[in-house]
Point group: C2
Amino acid sequence: MSSQESAPGSARPGGRTARNTTAVLQATLDELGEHGYGAITVDLVAARSGVHKATVYRRWGGVDGLVRAALDWSADQDWEPARTGGLYTDLLALAETVAEGFTEAPEREVSAAAIAAAFESGAVADALHRFMADRHRRSAVVVTEAIARGELPEGTDPEEVVRSAVAPVYYRLLVSREPVSPADLRRTARITADAAAAGAFVPAAPDPAP
Amino acid sequence: MSSQESAPGSARPGGRTARNTTAVLQATLDELGEHGYGAITVDLVAARSGVHKATVYRRWGGVDGLVRAALDWSADQDWEPARTGGLYTDLLALAETVAEGFTEAPEREVSAAAIAAAFESGAVADALHRFMADRHRRSAVVVTEAIARGELPEGTDPEEVVRSAVAPVYYRLLVSREPVSPADLRRTARITADAAAAGAFVPAAPDPAP
DNA sequence: CGTCAAACGCAACTAGAGTTGCGTTATGAG
DNA sequence: CTCATAACGCAACTCTAGTTGCGTTTGACG
């Protein structure tokens, strides 16, 4: 998790600034995981990281900036979807990952914080957009492989399939505030996989039933 | 919008308390619509409504309480989905309503505020859950009518169909922070309608392709 | 090794959110 | 009409998030 002590491309790679950066961002993630987005404070992060309060305000501007930076920081870490050999089970694993990310501590609070902070800061919203776009790109592999296996028609939009599979999970957890059952996960994966097989995600194709 | 000056079941239906309630909640909605959730303040709402700051804090506890009350208040207003005669077009209209509710001012800020405040307050989260559950119940009519018309198999879970149709819209707007195109709306409605027609929302039914 | 600028630590300050005690007003019941 | 009380308005207060001026430290570079 904290394996990047030196950023080669930065201005002062191994200096005090870089150490402060990792200390502050790690403290931000820890604080979020323990107390959640509603309770996080610049003073708490400063005290936890050992970096002075004024420095944190100067470099990150506030809680929003901390979340934004932590999000960009997390986006750098490698991530790839689980591969099971079939599209339905791949999508199911994807949906399960999302559900776990929002229900199991401490990741739960961090994930929710990113979404919540995006409402209050355009910079966080942009960072969240980039983060999700990256996840879409990486997750798309399971769809392109399904196309290669002949499970799906050529021209299927891979990222759109991913969105369709995970959207209902986010909806239940963040919008309608309902629990997500294993049956819910299976239904999303099933519907998306079937729709994809039927060619519903081929952009150029006209509506199958006008 | 402000047609309920007296709540018959309340303790003091037509008194100063009731007037203050409507004034404060209306001011909350107005303030949210103009400046958004990030800028709303108890002082601003108090000044706008003419009700004293201390009174607002005593009765609602803070911004979270205001949003929660405004949400419950809005939930009382009658709402029903548009009816077009077919399931696909009904679901499309539903998805369009959601998209407009989050993109057109001033409703946009109010909708976003409800979701955002739910992250910071369990009471708001509960209110949001109730609000969405009510919307699900009301929207389910378009599905039950489709069942009655023979478009969908008996036993189809109506509210689950609704969730499936609107979830991708919320996902793009609030999570991945992407624009929602008319083609996106048509795709969601199409996929959900087709899946429903195939019996994907009949709970007792086993997986169609084991 | 010496220099210099950027970043940092520190402490004091400002501003605004949230609280509290008390007198006043309005409302529903008798 | 009178009265008891709950809700309200008011002002003064506390507390904490956020800012700022200044001296000090750090690390890149010659």
